[in-house]
């Protein structure tokens, strides 16, 4: 079942035309974010709830600013300070919030599929801000936006995604999106950090990092998600860093104009050397800036859809 357009639950649900529409709309909001008055009155009177069951600085702040720059009222709820810590179920939390008539609920949850559950039980639009190891669609969209601005296109580019692919919703959403727009996606990790069946998503699989970097246009580094590791999948952080850490020397195998990306949070000195993270080819802070514009586009397009079916 394809969810209604008032939700953004995953990149898997989107066709290339819808993806490009998000990117094109974000260009306009990128302009707004660079003006002196970084605010438009578009969503005045609308309410956005950020419901975060996992720690987040970047994504939550980005959604909060996106909502505020559209003049929506934004409320942040984090699980540690909410009734969830007193044992309230997700369903009851949702019904309580629903009674306050939000227009859009942005949700991050450690369980894959939680945003889909919420979407089935609310009249608000739902944005998945990361669910377990499943998807993180706005991250993939802002990554694509950043790549398109840096490279002028996405099709035909060689994109190497390296790190903890198995536990990464960022990797999953990016593989869906980039392959859909015609990029050649490589994933690279030790076998223990590669999900079963990753080839089926259309990515080429590498375990040799140097080979994976050869001729790449885009290098996307991911951190090891220690909080999701239930067993020892890497011998040691030092060993991992030696084999899969991106150094300036390793990066020289990629195209000279290759860009380096990281969705954050970074573990400097582990998956990425500080000289690369802060180097000439890094677009890591461009990704953060793009995040606000892209999320403005998402909230704008979704809230307008919600406006079509007035809450009863």
């Amino acid at each position: 079942m394809k969810p209604a357009a008032r939700h953004l639950l995953g990149i898997e649900d989107l066709d290339p035309r819808e993806i490009v529409q998000f990117l094109d709309t974000a260009e306009v909001f990128f302009d707004v974010s660079r003006r002196r008055v970084r605010k438009v009155p578009t969503l005045r009177g609308k309410t956005v709830i950020n419901l975060f069951y996992e720690a987040s600085t970047r994504t939550r702040t980005s959604f909060e600013l996106a909502g505020k720059r559209l003049s929506a009222d934004v409320v942040n709820i984090s699980a540690s300070s909410s009734s969830a810590s007193k044992g309230e179920s997700l369903y009851d939390t949702l019904k309580t919030l629903e009674a306050m008539r939000p227009d859009v609920i942005v949700v991050r949850h450690p369980h894959s599929g939680a945003p889909h559950f919420i979407a089935r039980h609310t009249q608000a639009g739902v944005v998945n801000a990361g669910d377990g190891t499943h998807e993180h669609p706005t991250q993939a969209l802002l990554d694509a936006f950043t790549i398109r601005r840096a490279k002028g296109r996405i099709g035909e580019l060689v994109v190497t995604i390296a790190g903890d692919i198995a536990h990464s919703r960022v990797a999953r959403s990016n593989i869906h999106l980039l392959t859909r727009l015609g990029a050649r996606v490589r994933v690279c990790a030790p076998r223990t950090l590669l999900p079963v069946g990753v080839e089926a998503l259309g990515a080429e699989v590498f375990t040799d990092f140097d080979a994976a970097l050869e001729g790449a246009d885009v290098v996307m580094m991911l951190r090891i998600q220690h909080e999701r590791l239930t067993e020892a999948l890497i011998p040691s952080t030092r060993e991992y860093s030696r084999t899969y850490g991106l150094t300036a020397k390793r990066l020289s195998a990629a195209r000279p104009d290759a860009i380096v990306m990281h969705p954050g949070p970074m573990n400097r000195g582990v998956e990425i050397d500080p000289s690369v993270a802060d180097g000439r080819q890094s677009v890591i802070l461009d990704q953060v800036e793009a995040g606000v514009a892209l999320r403005m586009a998402v909230l704008y397009l979704l809230a307008a859809e919600v406006g079509q079916s007035p809450l009863t």
């Binding site: 529409q21 094109d24 709309t25 260009e27 306009v28 302009d31 707004v32 003006r35 002196r36 008055v37 605010k39 438009v40 009155p41 578009t42 969503l43 005045r44 009177g45 609308k46 704008y300 397009l301 809230a303 307008a304 859809e305 406006g307 079509q308």
Partner: protein, 178 residues
């Protein structure tokens, strides 16, 4: 059945009308006053171009040009159909100390101009703003008036007035009665 549209202005008449409007703008503002023409997307942009070209060719006045898109400023933005085709606003100059002439093709309810004023003022604080329209067709819903009017037209509220654009700019103005 709708009747065939009446041609209110043809190509030469539009050209003559724009000549008069450019003259009025050049007369109203001293050459020492920095003026910029800002077209309201989409209909106002080619008209701002046409007026700017005339100010330069006929009055040796070089004025800056820009564009505002009002999609995000509409008073029905949150309830109207989502419009994924938001135009880019393009104001590449400081508004302070400058006189801005907003340009649109047809002035009707005034709601577009209200939105354009809000959009414009988010870019800065111009010295003054005035409004130039090719057609004023009446039926205002807000207290808005134009300073430079090409043609005032008596219309029924449900009639349609359209400035038809060609590759070279405005080609004709059509009035469709219901």
């Amino acid at each position: 059945m709708t009747a065939a549209p009446e041609i209110v202005l043809d190509g030469p008449a539009i050209a003559a009308t724009l000549d008069q409007m450019a003259l009025a703008i050049a007369t109203k503002f001293k050459p020492s006053t920095p003026v910029a023409l800002v077209g309201i997307r989409r209909g106002g942009v080619p008209l701002a171009e046409a007026l700017g070209a005339r100010l330069s060719a006929q009055h040796r006045r070089n004025v800056l040009r820009g564009a505002v898109d009002i999609t995000l400023y509409r008073d029905d933005a949150a309830t109207a159909l989502p419009n994924p085709l938001i135009g880019r606003s393009d104001i590449a100059f400081e508004l302070a100390e400058r006189v801005i002439v907003l340009v649109d093709d047809v002035l009707y309810t005034g709601r577009t101009v209200r939105a354009a004023l809000d959009a414009l003022l988010d870019y800065g604080r111009p010295k003054a703003v005035s409004l130039a329209v090719l057609i004023d067709r009446g039926h205002r819903e807000l207290p808005i008036a134009a300073d430079f009017i090409g043609l005032s037209l008596d219309t029924e509220a449900d009639a349609r007035v359209e400035v038809v654009m060609g590759p070279e700019g405005p080609e004709r103005v059509e009035l469709r009665r219901r």
